[in-house]
Amino acid sequence: MLVKQLSVFIENKPGKLSAVTRLLADNDIDIRAFSVADSRDFGILRLIVNDPDKASQVLKEAEVTISVTNVIAVCIGDRPGGLAEAVDCLYKANISVEYMYAFVEKSGDDAFAILRVENNDKALEALTEGGFNILTAERVYSI
């Protein structure tokens, strides 16, 4: 049920972000979702891609610092209150969210959220019990 997310360390210097995204493009890696966390000196580009194994190999070969983290992709209703319900469900199960970001399908009524939590098993359990639809990795990679 878990999705592989690539986190890429990017120093705050001109050209660093562009080099990484260009490298992925040149290797036909399709980005499904992404977010950027920033600090004064560096940023972390988090990516969900169609082929995480290939992407991680390509980046490593180019000596880019990356880490692979298992995250949860959950389907949330694309309507007012959709996100609130999901977050509420986690809050009630006492699960804190490290970070999250959203993406949508090309066509369809649903929105999806990538969740990075302390305890994936506990979160999966809570969300499933709460009636949320968890996306499989295969589905996310092929969106």
Partner: protein, 435 residues
């Protein structure tokens, strides 16, 4: 008009001074040989006995001492007097491995204070002055040295220690301080704070400052003189020889007179150890000829400078040294603290980092900055900003623990630190410390 604390010595003819140095050196070598087995061994290995040292002309025959010897002999190995005769220690900053502990008998404290009294007097200090000592007190020699010198001269002494700048300025104003002793960067900072408080040099009574323990430039001198409305004098020394006061500036402000009756200077080629003629640029070496407890013979300071016997308009005949123009080792002086890159490397290895790092030192608003860039590997990289910042914080704390000053640590990607000819450039010093 020139002010001398000890005119007889400070203006002594070269012949008389040499005679005095000869006598003292012969006696000192005997004292060390008999009481310091560590140095006796070095002399024996070189085949030199005290009988071979008949005058300062024979000084070059003696073996050198280096910081490595001080480390090997830590803490008592170079002590030449029974501990019952010692009354004080002072120490340099740094790790246990690099720490220097110097011992003083009452006689040693007195001669150190005499040296500082000469410096204060040369800066125009008399018993009518109010001397504010804003060097750190404690193991660091700055505060205790100038404090003692100020007492000796008879100044009203304000033992402020460093920090709490607004309080410094309040005391300076309320008690009409006329002389300020501190590091040049702190003096510059006091000047800035004065301005920020909406005050001008006319609001204070300072006339002179004695600033040392770190490198500074003529430009910085002019800035400090302007911001505080004073004349700024340099002072030099090191814990190994006693502390500040080994040499000091006079009204000419063009180099520091060495208290040759206590410390014999030599300039050597740092690579060969060969003594260089007067006027050559090389490494400064000191022989303490009067100290009892911790009398280092031919101690290599690693400071690069030039000695000159050119006649000085102040009337002193004491030989002059330039400000140190650099180091013959990789030691950095940052905020008055001695820093070796290897100390930082040790911390990195202990914390599981590869020794791929770069130290960047700069001076911003007259205060030194220390940035340490460290390459991390994939295991150390996590997907959260917090995770990386925690690693940076933990490295910062560990480096602060060992150096005594706080760096700014930046984790960077592997293989991003510049390498020249395949070897990483460890230190980038952007400060313009030498004119």
């Amino acid at each position: 008009m020139e002010n001398y604390w000890n005119k007889e010595i400070e203006c002594m003819s070269r012949e008389e001074m040499k005679k005095l140095q000869d006598e003292r050196l012969v006696k000192q070598v005997k004292h060390v040989y008999e009481n310091v087995p560590y140095y006796k061994k070095l002399m024996d290995e070189k085949g030199v006995t005290p009988d071979d040292i008949k005058s300062t002309d024979d000084l070059h025959k003696l073996p050198f001492l280096t910081k490595a010897d001080l480390r090997d002999a830590y803490p008592y190995g170079l002590l030449a007097m029974p501990l019952s005769e010692c009354v004080r220690i002072q120490s340099t900053s740094g790790t246990t491995g690099r720490r220097v502990v110097a011992f003083y008998t009452q006689h040693d404290v007195d001669l150190w204070e005499e040296c500082c009294a000469r410096a204060i007097t040369a800066a125009g200090g008399t018993k009518d002055d109010v001397c504010q000592v804003a060097y750190g007190y404690g193991l660091f020699t700055g505060g205790p040295g100038l404090n003692g010198g100020s007492h000796k001269v008879g100044c009203l002494t304000l033992p402020m220690s460093s920090g709490n700048t607004e309080r410094q300025i309040q005391f300076m104003r309320d008690l009409n301080a006329t002389i300020l002793c501190c590091t040049p960067s702190y003096a510059a900072y006091i000047g800035e704070t004065l301005k920020e408080m909406g005050l001008t040099p006319d609001d204070i009574k300072l006339k002179a400052g004695i600033f040392g323990a770190e490198p500074w430039t003529e430009e910085m001198r002019r800035e400090i003189e302007k911001s505080l409305g004073i004349k700024a004098y340099d002072i030099y020394g090191l814990t190994e020889t006693s502390g500040p006061g080994v040499s000091f500036e006079c009204c000419e402000q063009s180099g520091m007179h060495i208290n040759e009756d206590h410390f014999i200077p030599e300039i050597i080629d740092p690579d060969t150890g060969e003594v260089l003629p007067e006027g050559s640029k090389g490494e400064l070496v000191f022989t303490s000829i009067t100290k009892e407890a911790f009398p280092l013979l031919r101690y290599r300071t690693r400071d690069i400078c030039v000695l000159s016997r050119k006649k000085c308009s102040c009337g002193r005949t004491l030989i002059k040294m330039t400000k140190p123009m650099g180091r013959s080792d990789d030691m950095l002086i940052i905020r008055g603290v001695n820093v070796f890159p290897s100390q930082i490397e040790t911390v990195l290895l202990e914390q599981g980092y590869a020794p791929n790092y770069q130290i960047e030192v700069d001076r911003v608003n007259n205060s030194d900055t220390l940035d340490v860039y460290v390459e991390m590997n994939e295991e150390q990289f996590t997907d959260t900003v917090k995770g990386i910042q925690e690693k940076e914080k933990s490295l910062t704390a560990a480096i602060k623990q060992i150096l005594g000053i706080s760096p700014k640590v930046h984790l960077v990607s592997p293989k991003t630190i510049a390498r020249s000819e395949g070897k990483a450039v460890r230190v980038i010093d952007k400060r313009k410390l030498h004119d």
